[in-house]
């Protein structure tokens, strides 16, 4: 089992390394939010430009982690269309190992993307001391693991590379907008605050924001608990989908053309 998880992680990281240019390209979106959207909205908000940028830095970090984790999960959908994964499927490794390996590999890729963005913190007015940096990286790791689990749980239910990105955007964008990544939840309309309590992205961003600003919206144990619960529930659900595929080697997807 452990060997299987390890093999899948090494496989995905090897493929990720081929595409490492993605790390640089992946910077564009969060920096755009931070310095363009941030400058525009900041100037018109009561916080002022500098404070606003500092405020949304954890939000853009969350965005970056969320998107890189989901992008990593797309590999699952792609894998079904290339033969390589068939060879993986007939290897004598348990299906849960494939699911867990994918989740861990996605989280590592997501953290790698986050680490590329982190040095921009001072530019956003969020200078982090050593302790804050450690807190921030810890929060990033937990966030990345959560997002990767969400990504895999979504991806293992799709077998079309054209449908999945659209569908995942339809799920992830609302989660991001409700998370308080770009505005303080404290002053948001009541319904949004209620909705945020059901949004794992909100807890993840709040943990990161707390590390930067020292002020949390949710109690820290609640956030950690909510993220832990999300990881466990969604990982279990992905394992179930992957296991279902054992009957026909199709990874749970019945329309996978290779197998009927």
């Amino acid at each position: 089992m452990i060997r299987g998880v390890f093999a899948i992680v090494v496989l995905d990281l090897k493929r990720f390394w081929v595409d490492r240019a993605r790390l640089v390209a992946g910077l564009a979106q969060p920096l755009l939010y931070l310095f363009v959207l941030g400058a525009g909205i900041g100037a018109s908000s009561r916080m002022g430009g500098g404070d606003y940028r500092r405020f949304i830095f954890p939000g853009t970090m969350g965005l970056s982690l969320l998107f890189s984790a989901t992008f990593a999960a797309i590999a699952i959908v792609f894998d079904r269309q290339i033969g390589f994964f068939k060879a993986v499927l007939v290897a004598p490794i348990p299906r849960p190992a494939i699911a867990l390996g994918k989740i861990i590999a996605g989280a590592l890729q997501s953290v790698a993307q986050g680490m590329v963005l982190l040095p921009f913190a001072p530019l956003a007015g969020a200078s982090l001391g050593p302790l804050e940096t450690v807190e921030m990286i810890g929060a990033m790791a937990l966030a990345a693991l959560t997002f990767s689990t969400i990504g895999v749980a979504l991806a293992c239910r799709f077998n079309s590379t054209t449908v999945f990105p659209v569908a995942s955007n339809a799920v992830l964008m609302p989660m991001f907008f409700l998370s308080g990544g770009l505005y303080p939840l404290k002053v948001a309309p009541h319904w949004m605050q209620v909705a945020a309590h059901f949004d794992p992205v909100a807890y993840a961003i709040d943990l990161m924001r707390g590390s930067v600003l020292g002020v949390f919206y949710f109690p820290v144990p609640l956030s950690v608990g909510a993220l832990g619960l999300t990881i466990v529930v969604l990982a279990a659900s992905s394992v179930r989908v992957f296991n279902r595929g054992e009957d026909d080697s199709s990874l749970g997807s019945t329309r996978f053309g290779w197998i009927r």
Binding site: I8, V10, I82, F84, A87, P92, D247, S249
Partner: protein, 319 residues
């Protein structure tokens, strides 16, 4: 003390033992009762047109699909109940590419080794061994996408061999390769079989099936013939004689008078006969013309298939 060693309990199980195998996809009957027994170390070809049930039978044996009913064992193990045990002992070359083309050949083999439970160092070592064995070490560090079709197929074979399988499954493994690349590929597979590995492969190229020890012809989900290539061809009841003479018209006339039936037309004389090699000396002695060239042909597997099913191999029979 057993006095009947052939029946002793430690006799090796058949590499493949299939009895009464049936597979339906909804209403489509892909396999309609297949019986095959393949001994260990045999190189076995499953030959038939597209849609005959080749890939279905292949997939069931390679534990990729489950049978609707019937009995299928590989190396003595049930394809459903002992799937994982079979998987540890088999290697597959798929019809479609199954290497990650963005990675090097060496990396592909290394990852496959990891997936089969080798250590990092063990997987690396094994990758080098297999590359060496197939003579493609010099290509190993290039990205797979930079290789030619034939080289990539060799890499597929290498990938299947990483786990040192006792049985090798190949499904239309040379699809899209030119004749030279196909010949090289099958030469290597033949070598593996000669070294004691069981090989089971599907194809719809008759000349590929010729390298096998035994061939099963499959059509519409049933085995229509099974035997060595020589046995199968013998079923046509003979072979073909080709002659070129200094007076073909006179030769034809003579042949017709003496009870032979030369095929009409052509720039040479073609004659179907039960025992062409035996009749040729007599023809050479008795023909009233000078024979410039004489040739004896065995019938091809395509001729056999045509005779048994009334259809050619290349056409396919999708409903």
């Amino acid at each position: 003390m057993s006095t009947a060693p052939a029946l002793s309990a430690d006799a090796p199980p058949a590499a493949v033992d299939v009895r009464g195998l049936i597979k339906h996809y909804g209403k489509v009957e892909a396999l309609r009762g297949v019986d095959i027994r393949i001994e260990q170390g045999e190189m076995f070809a499953l030959l038939g047109p597209n849609g005959a049930g080749k890939t279905t039978l292949f997939s069931i044996l390679a534990t990729l699909r489950s049978p609707t009913s019937g009995h299928a064992r590989v190396l003595g193990r049930d394809v459903l109940a002992e799937r994982d045990a079979i998987r540890r002992d088999m290697g597959i070359v798929f019809q479609e590419p199954a290497i990650e083309h963005r990675l090097s050949g060496r990396d592909n083999l290394f990852l496959m080794g990891l997936l089969y439970g080798l250590t990092m160092a063990g997987a690396r070592r094994r990758a080098s061994e297999v590359l060496e064995q197939l003579g493609i070490s010099d290509l190993a560090d290039r990205r797979a996408q930079q290789l030619s079709g034939g080289q990539r197929r060799k890499l597929e074979l290498a990938r299947a061999l990483v786990t040192d399988p006792r049985i090798l499954f190949l499904d239309e493994a040379t699809l899209g390769l030119d004749v030279d690349a196909r010949r090289t590929f099958w030469g290597q597979v033949r070598g593996l079989a000669d070294a004691g590995r069981t090989v089971f492969f599907t194809t719809h190229y008759m000349e590929e099936a010729d390298v096998a020890d035994r061939i099963a012809l499959i059509d519409f989900g049933v085995i229509v013939a099974l035997g060595t290539p020589r046995e199968l061809k013998a079923r046509l009841g003979g072979g073909i004689v080709r002659l070129t003479t200094d007076d073909d018209a006179r030769a034809r006339a003579w042949l017709s008078e003496h009870g032979f039936a030369p095929e009409p037309g052509g720039h040479e004389i073609m004659l179907l006969h039960a025992d062409p090699a035996a009749v040729l000396p007599e023809l050479l002695r008795s023909l009233p013309v000078r024979v410039e060239r004489a040739e004896v042909h065995a019938p091809s597997l395509a001729d056999v298939f045509l005779k048994l099913t009334g259809r050619g191999l290349e056409g396919g029979n999708k409903p």
